[in-house]
């Protein structure tokens, strides 16, 4: 790869691929115009501190989302397994116990995360 290199180097990079004269003229012109566009476009580097803060925030939200998805997946798996076990061993009590657990667990989880958020808001 080359970053805004002159056309003669560009031609070296495309060795072995047949091109005719008109193509070369056209690609040279294209290269020249895109170089001008590049040259006339000013893009500043972002400051490191806010960028790092943004990355940290995003990493935190991705981890949180992953945890939530994992919990939901495990709950769905538990419900399916409890149903199959209850059907297999004919134990309605076990079925209801696991069902109750799988309903209570997300409620506790949600309540916990909501109260944490509320605490954070108050402390701010």
């Amino acid at each position: 790869m080359n970053e805004a290199i002159p056309c003669d180097i560009c031609e070296d990079l495309t060795k072995g691929e047949p091109r005719n004269d008109t193509d070369e003229e056209l690609t040279a012109l294209l290269f020249q115009e895109l170089s001008l566009l590049d040259h006339n476009t000013t893009v500043l580097k972002p400051s490191l501190f806010p960028l790092e803060a943004m990355l940290r925030e995003h990493k935190h939200s991705v981890t949180r989302k992953l945890k939530r998805d994992l919990v939901l997946f495990l709950l769905a798996a538990m419900s399916i397994l409890s149903l199959s076990v209850a059907l297999l061993v004919r134990l309605p009590l076990l079925f209801f116990a696991v069902q109750a657990l799988s309903v209570m667990f997300p409620m506790i989880f949600l309540f916990g995360s909501l109260s944490k958020r509320r605490d954070r808001r108050w402390t701010k």
Binding site: F31, L36, L37, D38, L48
Partner: protein, 211 residues
């Protein structure tokens, strides 16, 4: 320190930063992304011809890079890896927006984007050319392939990896792209365009800045 030594130390520095970033060091990743940000945005401006969209995709690319940094295998340069992520995001966004909006809305949006880039270029003392106009007429797929090949000098295999398509498709897209460009700028116009003194002066200025 001569140019070669400077280049080697820059590559070493980038390699060290990459290793730290892969190990979960966010400040190293932030430094890497900040260094590559102007290059990434300039690439996206050439491909989208829409400065605002280019910046949006660049920001999304940085977040995606954070999620995927552990998958980066250092086989290509970090900037190439970023370009690959940005290209996929651009293609996905384009597909989604084509589904959501009508063709007419899409055309209006493209015209507005072109105007915005023209204004930006004019305000920096540059000039919008017929070649850029012709490039803007190409479909995104053709423009991507042509820019990656004839401006950045990637091989067909590298472009295939970046765009996630077979090598043969890349070859045909580059060919069709050049053919469409040639159709827009007829042979006569092309020669007249190249011979114009204003253009020649500008091209020299551009080459000097990259030497």
């Amino acid at each position: 320190m001569n140019v070669n030594q400077e280049r080697v130390s820059r590559v070493d520095g980038e390699q060290r930063l990459t290793e730290r970033a892969r190990g979960g060091d966010l400040s190293a990743l932030a430094e890497l992304l900040s260094d590559n940000y102007p290059f990434l945005v300039k690439y996206l401006i050439k491909v989208t011809l829409h400065p605002q969209l280019a910046e949006d995709i660049a920001q999304e690319t940085m977040l995606r890079a954070l999620e995927k940094i552990k998958l980066y295998n250092e086989r290509s340069k970090f900037s190439t890896w970023l370009i690959a992520i940005a290209t996929r995001i651009f293609i996905d966004n384009r597909r989604r927006s084509m589904k959501e909006r009508s063709i007419l809305e899409e055309e209006v949006r493209e015209q507005q984007a072109g105007r915005s880039l023209r204004f930006r270029l004019a305000s920096q003392g540059g000039e919008w050319s017929e070649v850029l106009d012709a490039l803007g007429q190409l479909s995104d797929d053709l423009r991507l392939a042509v820019v990656l090949k004839h401006y950045y000098g990637y091989s067909q295999k590298e472009i295939a990896d970046i765009m996630g398509i077979p090598e043969g498709t890349v070859k045909s897209r580059i060919h069709s792209g050049l053919q469409a460009l040639r159709k827009e700028l007829t042979d006569h116009d092309l020669e007249a365009y190249q011979e114009s003194p204003k253009r020649q002066g500008k091209s020299l200025a551009a080459v000097h800045t990259y030497e």
